[in-house]
Subunit: 198 residues, 2 copies
């Protein structure tokens, strides 16, 4: 075998990354070995720095390097509107729209009995804390449209009933640009249920 | 924007990797931020170690951590047979077959007039050195079946005429498992030209 020890170690680490198979890992490894030494080391340092500096915002539990994330610190954001998501990744997805002006709350998971992940494992207490000062007018439940995400949304909706706050769920329906022919039954049903007058 | 400084720096480095677009970079970055700190740091260290330890074999110019690569050191390999390839990656591709028992020579590129890459930029002198002791019986030209690879093979074939060595070129033809209908004209022409009696 032509693989050196450090190369097989690198390959082993790279295939653990999401979406990276054996072939992609090899392509990336060879690229890193052939690239100027500084470039490969900058990447290594970037990984280390990002991982060590990043923590969770003490208010919304999204990624931050400080105590509060940039969105929670931003006084121009509407603190009366909280969008509840499963993962920090989802915050970035919503931010990409560029339209949402409220704030977020990251649960860090969804209720999943099969994985023994009950609501007590999620950042729900922090959310309830935020509702206490009566500043919040609406909570948008933006968990994933999966079994776990729906279960989490149902659980939260029930839990938030005792708070004076409007609770909404993002619309489930046919994605824009898709073909109805390929939409599954549940999605189509949701699209019908959620129809609006135009 | 929700991106922290260290995260955008990491994303910027990740999108430079081959086959990694914006979305994949984000997925990998979020994975690294959420993974146990040790896991992300092990990856960073693996990149750094692999890049710093890896050099080119002084004989065949493939990857190695020592003076000679494991193939050049292996006394069971047939030193009379040299497979000439463009990149170290190609050595691994041939090794995956598990059938080739000869050794390699990595050119580190191919003749490419458009990129101002002449034969003097390739590791050809090292190859000629290896032919001097008359131990080599055959040189297999296994450069890519591209314009540059073919030009390099032609150049080397001409150059090696003055040496007492058999020079061969790997077969170009229809790839196994493919559909003739989708083969391009040049490939089909090569497959016809290279036909053999069965």
């Amino acid at each position: 075998m032509a693989e050196t020890h450090s190369l097989s170690n690198l390959l082993e680490k790279l295939v653990n990354l999401p979406g990276i198979g054996r072939k992609s890992a090899q392509r990336i490894a060879f690229y890193l070995l052939k690239a100027p030494q500084s470039e490969s080391i900058f990447l290594a340092k970037a990984i280390e720095t990002a991982r060590c500096k990043t923590k969770f915002c003490s208010n919304c539990f999204s990624f931050t390097e400080d105590e509060l994330c940039s969105i929670c610190k931003d006084t121009k954001r509407d603190r009366g509107l909280i969008c509840v998501v499963e993962q920090p990744d989802d915050v970035f997805a919503f931010e990409r729209i560029g339209e949402y002006r409220g704030v977020y709350h990251v649960l860090h998971g969804a209720v999943s009995p099969l994985d023994d992940l009950g609501p007590n494992k999620l950042k729900i207490r922090g959310l309830l804390e935020r509702l206490k000062n009566n500043e919040v007018k609406e909570v948008i439940l933006a968990t994933n449209p999966t079994t776990e995400g729906e279960a989490t949304a149902m659980y939260l909706a029930k839990l938030l009933k005792s708070y004076e706050v409007k609770v909404t769920r993002i619309a489930r329906g046919v994605p824009v640009g898709s073909d109805l022919e390929y939409a599954d039954e549940v999605t189509l049903l949701r699209a019908l249920e959620g129809r609006r007058e135009i």
